[in-house]
Symmetry: C2
Subunit: 555 residues, 2 copies
């Protein structure tokens, strides 16, 4: 058992790739703080020293060395306490196929200024957005760590999830004598993930009748072609499979457990799981984080009077403050007065600066410049794209001139269908909604209005029939061939559900299924040049979904 | 030994991902042709049935089934002949972490309408542009195939390269009794790769005193964030380590070997290895292939009068024919008459259509539209970007209107430094020079002029001081802080050489090294939204080089 008064500290911190010295400061401060409160065991997340998504920086030997030196520095602070910290270990005697020393995704177990053990991750995720086999070798062995009178079984992230949730790693640690299971993670968020984690850990704790300590990181990291959100929500379970503590959501947190509670702690009733609440928090954090890390403060957003830009502007205001957000209205001859009024009203509600720049003159000027070239050719999508691109240029010019960033307003449904203009409305440094389906955008709008800022998004924006206003009387339904109430869930079933035509045709018309799958396939080329999406579902566009630009395969 | 008159056929074909039925047609036609010539053993490349870079299409069980059905169809043609063909095998009894049946990258060995053996790839490359561990499990075992009186040892691509070229797989096959080694590959091209392959195979053949048959595929495939070129150049070595046959370069080919030659064949003197010749061929094939597969014919290229656009236009004319290429000159107030004249002269030499669209009016119109917003702010890069983006829009408008594609003219050096405008000169469906350094662009220009079309690129374009002409008297050297003679090789040493500051500072000034590495790091965000590059070096931007958008790490 833990000795009396020797607290267990869960240091749910945000570490950022390539920012080793900042990460170390955070780790050191956490240790100092925890020690001052009497903690004897302090647990940090997976790869807390280098940051989880260090990507190919890990192929530089110097990067690995810096992370090892950081560990040496941290070591000095562990007089009379044990710290468990994620870092990159290496074996200088083994050279991998990329010509560098073999690396491990490891936990250093430090006590009294010495590394008493190193536990490597044994299962390396290499699917969806994960590509750990690019960087790491599988763990060398699995051991039990003695701490006071206890035997700790330490595993790293995927070791918990295992192939098909067979909990082999946990089982092995129990067999080896573990009294407590500890999992250090950098587990990316998707809608519903907390529930998935909770159910799985509960099952393991119940099965083996042991306490389970799960330490997750926080923050938003570049997953190479897509932003990954880490939501924290570290969890502690007693030996009866009951959740007794839950870390903050989407925030750094350090909390302490009275060790006796690992056996006797009372069950906590966690806040009811609310998908839209989590989605909102994840997206706000993604924007805050992207701007903070790139050292930009000012955001420029095209306000069309539509729902996507209204939601993005609301998220940006929450993330950056209203004084850092500028809305730009860029009406054309096809823009309804209603749209302008709604956009203005939104900007006023959000107390953001807004500008109106009419694009008719520019559009006509382009048409004039292209007249000789285009000759007798009629009007088609070229002209629609021209309008969207003029708007993209105006937004980018503002971002360039005032040292800001454009936030793209593209949602997942339109990104799927290519109902967007490359270099036009796809412009931006980050696309917060690119993994959020159109119907979820509506839910977000209602959530913002009801639970965040009462009525901040004008009802008319939510209620109007969606239109891109790129030609007279255009509606999205007309352009896409079906209403969003059909298309939005259909796209989700194709992308997230991975369903094939046969299954889909039981529920949707063959014609619609064919049309939508064709659009998804034909527009892969646009997505390759899209602004980075923020992953919030089980399957986002980007690195986690690698489909050839051209292919003839029918799902 | 082979029986007399039983020819060995090497079917160096191009297979395309997601085009299984077309691939099968090609395979069937090759078998019919080879049989008619008396071949008894026909060898196809790695993953010839589905196409090598099938990417996440492989996660659809239906895709795997289609590839298996295709194999069944091909089987019927093997009466009295043996065929060795790359395909995707699966084990329905084992489910992987992505929820689908475990897959193998395998060779089917078919004889007399039966699959007599399946040999899986045992080493799966997972570095640089490769991510086979996302899709495949490591091979089940290694076996020897009896054919006539011979014992064939069959390996797949990486099995040859091995970790650190230790040739373990070949050794194992020899130990098991192989008389001949056969390697089926889909081996992507980089400058110098043929030499690397030749040296390695020669070494193995010499070491074990066996003939070695190496069958590579041809064509250009989307590697997810970068185009991969497969150059063919299949090779046959006799048992003395002498190259006796070499397949065509960058072209489909089927050729036959008199089996006796595997032991007695005379050494062939291969064409002298010429880097620029190969580069030229690779880039032309990349353009041809991208257009053919996306079913576009017309290319639009912005002609600045500079060397990059001159080389891209020359490549496009070779790839698509002069009637399918349109050059667009878009002079501004900063454009020298010399540039216009040179661009016109180039277009005339290439016999392509060209158009001149002055952008001054558009530029001024944008400035006017932005005046209220920008107020007293002075002119800066915003205005340079505006010009580049107006040009991008004009090119895209032409591509949209005439159903064509824009080819980006960005080279590797400027892509590295971010000396490009996102949504401006970075627009395009494909960027043929994005892995070609500035100095290599000059070499390409000279090669085109000397060995392809005599003097087609006006000398003045090659000789002029490089300038983006985005403000008065601008030169690239002035904007970048050093001439290309320094910057271009420095960038190559950083990106391809993977060299750190310490090493670089022995050769370059500390100031230049710092400036250039900073530029490379700061501009990762632009590269994420760049048009797909064509990989021609050992390290291209894109999927093979995954660096976080923001980080503080100094190489």
């Amino acid at each position: 058992m833990f000795k009396e008064n020797s607290n267990l500290a869960i240091a749910q911190i945000s570490s950022y790739p390539g920012e080793i010295s900042d990460n170390v400061k955070k780790i050191i401060n956490s240790i100092i703080k925890a020690k001052s409160i009497g903690a004897k065991l302090i647990i940090f997340p997976e790869l807390a020293i280098p940051g989880y998504m260090s990507l190919d920086l890990m192929l530089y030997p110097k990067y690995i060395e810096e992370n090892l030196k950081a560990l040496d520095k941290i070591k000095l602070l562990t007089k009379d306490v044990m710290a468990i910290i994620g870092f990159i270990d290496q074996d200088r005697n083994k050279i991998g196929p990329d010509g560098t020393a073999i690396r491990y995704n490891s936990a250093a177990i430090i006590y009294d200024q010495k590394i008493v053990a190193i536990q490597d991750k044994t299962l390396l995720p290499n699917y969806d957005v994960f590509f750990e086999k690019r960087y790491f070798a599988e763990g060398r062995d699995r051991k039990i760590i003695n701490f006071q009178d206890l035997k700790l079984g330490i595993e790293i992230c995927e070791d918990l999830w295992d192939e098909n949730y067979s909990v082999k790693v946990s089982q092995d640690l129990i067999k080896k004598g573990a009294d407590i299971l500890i999992n250090i993670s950098s587990s990316p968020f998707y809608l519903g993930k907390r529930n998935d984690r909770e159910n799985l850990i509960k099952r393991i704790s119940l099965k083996f009748k042991v306490p389970f300590v799960y330490v997750n990181c926080v923050g938003v990291q570049d997953g190479y072609d897509g932003e990954l959100v880490f939501d924290g929500q570290s969890m502690v379970f007693n030996n009866k499979g009951e959740l007794i503590r839950l870390g903050k959501e989407f925030e750094d947190d350090i909390f302490y457990i009275n060790p006796a509670d690992l056996w006797n702690g009372k069950r906590l009733t966690p806040p009811r799981y609310n998908q839209i609440h989590d989605l909102y928090k994840a997206l706000v954090l993604a924007i805050t984080s992207y701007f903070r890390r790139t050292k930009f403060r000012k955001a420029y957003i095209g306000l069309s009077g539509g729902i996507d830009s209204a939601v993005v502007a609301s998220l940006a205001v929450k993330a950056l403050g209203s004084k850092n957000v500028t809305g730009i209205l860029m009406p054309s001859q096809f823009t309804d007065k209603e749209s302008i009024n709604d956009a203005k009203k939104l900007a006023k509600n959000l107390t953001i600066e807004y500008k109106i720049i009419f694009i008719n003159g520019l559009f006509k000027n382009f048409q004039k410049s292209l007249k000789n070239s285009f000759k007798e050719k009629g009007v088609d999508t070229t002209e629609e794209n021209l309008q969207a691109r003029i708007r993209g240029m105006i937004l980018m010019a503002h971002a360039n001139k005032f040292k800001g960033l454009v936030i793209s307003t593209a949602n997942k449904t339109e990104t799927a269908l290519g109902y967007t203009t490359l270099y036009g409305d796809m412009c931006g440094a980050i696309a917060p909604l690119a993994d959020v389906s159109k119907l979820l955008v509506y839910e977000l709008a209602n959530f913002i209005n009801q639970e965040q800022e009462i009525g901040i998004i004008p009802q008319n924006i939510i209620k109007r029939i969606p239109t891109a206003e790129l030609r007279v009387n255009q509606t999205d339904e007309q352009s896409l061939g079906a209403p969003y109430s059909i298309i939005s869930p259909l796209v989700d079933e194709i992308i997230e559900g991975g369903k094939g035509s046969k299954e889909l045709e039981k529920k949707y018309s063959k014609k619609v299924v064919e049309h939508i799958t064709n659009l998804i396939n034909q527009n892969e080329y646009k997505r390759r040049q899209a602004a980075p999406a923020v992953k919030v579902t089980k399957k986002a566009f980007g690195i986690g979904r690698r489909i050839p630009i051209v292919h003839q395969f029918k799902i």
